[in-house]
């Protein structure tokens, strides 16, 4: 399982890349593998508010529909329209072209509730 450094992770297998006050969010390699081939992604609208650990999007595969939970709270400023045409980007490039949304972060302190790459790796070992 690919777990890049420099990102923060959640127990529900989301990642966030924080740069200044904004965060790019997606789901991890573990998540895309568990889901199987992604067939559809439902994204929020620009301007929507998302709250930490609450569902804000969903990913559909032939096996399941999974909710995606917000790593931190914020306001949606960009969505990856490419996913609407090519949902398979989440399977192929979960950390790069498979990103889902970019948010303006409300409270930096919330990132204290997240895991580092090494902590997430340990967490994965525990559940596998």
């Amino acid at each position: 399982m690919n777990v890049p450094d420099g990102l923060l992770y959640t127990k529900e297998h989301e990642w966030i890349r924080i740069e200044n006050n904004s965060g790019t969010i997606g789901v991890t390699d573990y998540a895309q593998d568990a889901l199987g081939d992604v067939t559809f992604v439902e994204l929020p609208k620009i301007g929507d508010t998302i709250k930490q650990f609450k569902a804000f999007a969903s990913i559909e595969s032939v096996k399941a529909v999974s909710d995606v939970y917000a790593p931190v709270s914020g306001k949606i400023i960009k969505i990856n329209e490419g996913l609407l045409k090519s949902p398979e980007l989440i399977n192929q490039f979960p950390y790069e072209n498979g990103w889902m949304v970019v948010i303006e972060i409300y409270d930096e302190k919330e990132k204290g509730n997240l895991m580092s790459a090494s902590e997430y790796k340990k967490y994965l070992e525990g559940i596998q």
């Binding site: 067939t39 559809f40 949902p87």
Partner: protein, 478 residues
């Protein structure tokens, strides 16, 4: 095979409409449909060949063994199909009941007597035949539970289900405005009693169980489970999907269940029809009958009449009395089998399942290695080592002429293979199936690629489900 819409020729005719014996009239242009409906134009022979050839692409009980766990795919009698077509049943308009009860006495008697028989089989006091399917029966049961608690002034929020439950259970709970609490199954295959006691409190409206459960295991402590629920004013709901295992030996009403639903297309052998129609009648004990849907059929001397005035009724679940001809076939089946026949059904269903269990346990993992009831759950975990999953086993079985067992259910067993042979299958058929399963176990070790390529004998090979879900072509566009 070519779609029917691509067949036919412009102005070819299939049917002769009777010549009109009344004056011609045009509908006012304003209300007239602008584009004609582009249905195909075929001769009767075109239509017959098309659908006959489609039929030949199907597996069916009449052609293949269906050991589908949780579905009870037993033989469908032919004489009940004849009874359904009797003019006095098939041509009867349901609204005639509102015109004159005198012209519908025969059907009212069929429904009334079927209700009585289902009560006796399950140990319940009253039945409604309105629910149009099993899941619809579950919804009805939950509506009755909600009405009951409202009447009693009980404030309830949750419904408990085991993690082995059928997906319709928690889905039905949501449709009724309650939240589901899921209790894990313990290593013996029973709902974990300790965790159940922890979660059970005054906020719980009901507990939904099937008995035997989806692992094919009968919980000998079931009475305790029911008593505990009653102690917090929670109702016990019996999902009747597995009734085929216990007829004549156990009745849910006797052991503490307050509400049951039955799947007539399972236990009572009404045909599955390629996905429906079914029927899910609901039985209740005691006070809960005041909430049953209306109208109720009452028998006064030898006359059947309808009672509409029941102030606590939940109302209408279906427009009339449910899927009448499914009820009718059930009535005929029960009359035909009788007491000894129903008992024999469960005995041989359980015998067949245990025979399969015993003969296959050396080849496939059996997570709960003990006597089962009418179905047993294997796991393909031994075969996974060679990269063979439950789905590969399923696809190869198709090439051997067997419909696969239920796979990936219950969700608590990894790579589950749920096998329910039913009582109508002979020892030879079971032995043939066992041979095929043994062959598959060998192939999984020696030549897994053959399994991965299966099926090869069917009209189509394995289909690209991802493409189907991504492109969503759901109709012919023309």
């Amino acid at each position: 095979m070519q779609l029917i819409f691509k067949k036919g020729v412009k102005s070819r005719r299939g049917i002769k409409i009777p010549r009109s014996d009344v004056p011609a009239k045009e509908i006012p242009l304003k209300y007239k449909r602008t584009k004609r409906p582009s249905l195909p134009e075929l001769s009767e022979l075109d239509v017959v060949r098309h659908f006959t050839r489609l039929a030949q692409l199907n597996f069916s009980i009449d052609t293949n063994f269906y050991p589908l766990g949780s579905c009870t795919m037993k033989y469908n009698p032919k004489f009940t199909e004849q009874i359904e077509r009797l003019n006095g049943f098939s041509n009867l308009h349901p609204l005639f009941t509102y015109i004159s009860e005198g012209v519908v006495q025969g059907v009212l008697e069929v429904i009334y007597e079927t209700e009585r028989l289902l009560c006796e089989i399950t140990g319940m006091d009253e039945f409604t035949t309105q629910p149009l399917a099993g899941a619809h029966g579950e919804l009805t049961g939950l509506l009755l539970i909600a009405a009951f608690h409202k009447y009693k002034g009980n404030k309830k929020k949750y419904v408990i289900v085991p993690d082995s439950s059928h997906g319709t259970n928690p889905a039905s709970v949501s449709t009724c405005g309650y939240e589901t609490i899921v209790i894990p199954t313990d290593k013996d295959g029973y709902m974990n009693l300790k965790l159940y006691k922890e979660k059970l409190n005054q906020d719980v409206a009901a507990v939904i169980l099937t008995c035997p459960n989806t692992l094919g295991i009968f919980n000998p402590h079931i009475k305790e489970v029911c008593d505990l629920a009653h102690s917090v004013d929670a109702l016990m709901y019996y999902d009747g999907a597995n009734l085929n295992a216990i007829m004549g030996r156990c009745r849910p009403g006797d052991i503490g269940f307050d509400i049951v639903h039955l799947n007539l297309h399972k236990t009572f052998s009404t045909p599955h029809g390629g996905g429906g129609p079914g029927a899910g009648p609901v039985g209740v004990k005691g006070e809960i009958s005041k909430f049953l849907p209306i109208p109720r059929i009452i028998k006064r001397k030898d006359i059947f009449t309808l009672e509409y005035h029941r102030p606590n009724s939940i109302g209408h679940i279906a427009p009339f009395f449910g899927n009448f001809s499914v009820i009718l076939k059930t009535y005929a089946y029960i009359m035909f089998l009788g007491k000894e026949g129903l008992i024999s059904v469960s005995e041989h269903a359980v015998l067949n399942a245990n025979y399969l269990r015993t003969r296959l346990r050396d080849y496939y993992d059996l997570p709960y290695d003990r006597t089962c009831m009418h179905e047993c759950v294997f796991s393909a975990s031994r075969q996974i080592k060679n990269g063979i999953h439950a789905i590969d086993i399923a696809k190869y079985l198709i090439d051997k002429g067997f419909h696969p067992p239920t796979i990936y259910f219950p969700i608590i067993v990894k790579e589950a293979l749920m096998i329910e042979p039913t009582e109508t299958e002979s020892k030879e058929t079971l032995d043939d199936f066992i041979s095929a399963m043994i062959e598959i176990a060998k192939l999984a070790e020696e030549n897994p690629k053959i399994l991965k390529d299966a099926p090869v004998t069917t009209p189509v090979r394995r289909l690209d489900e991802v493409k189907a879900a991504r492109e969503l072509k759901l109709r012919w566009e023309g």
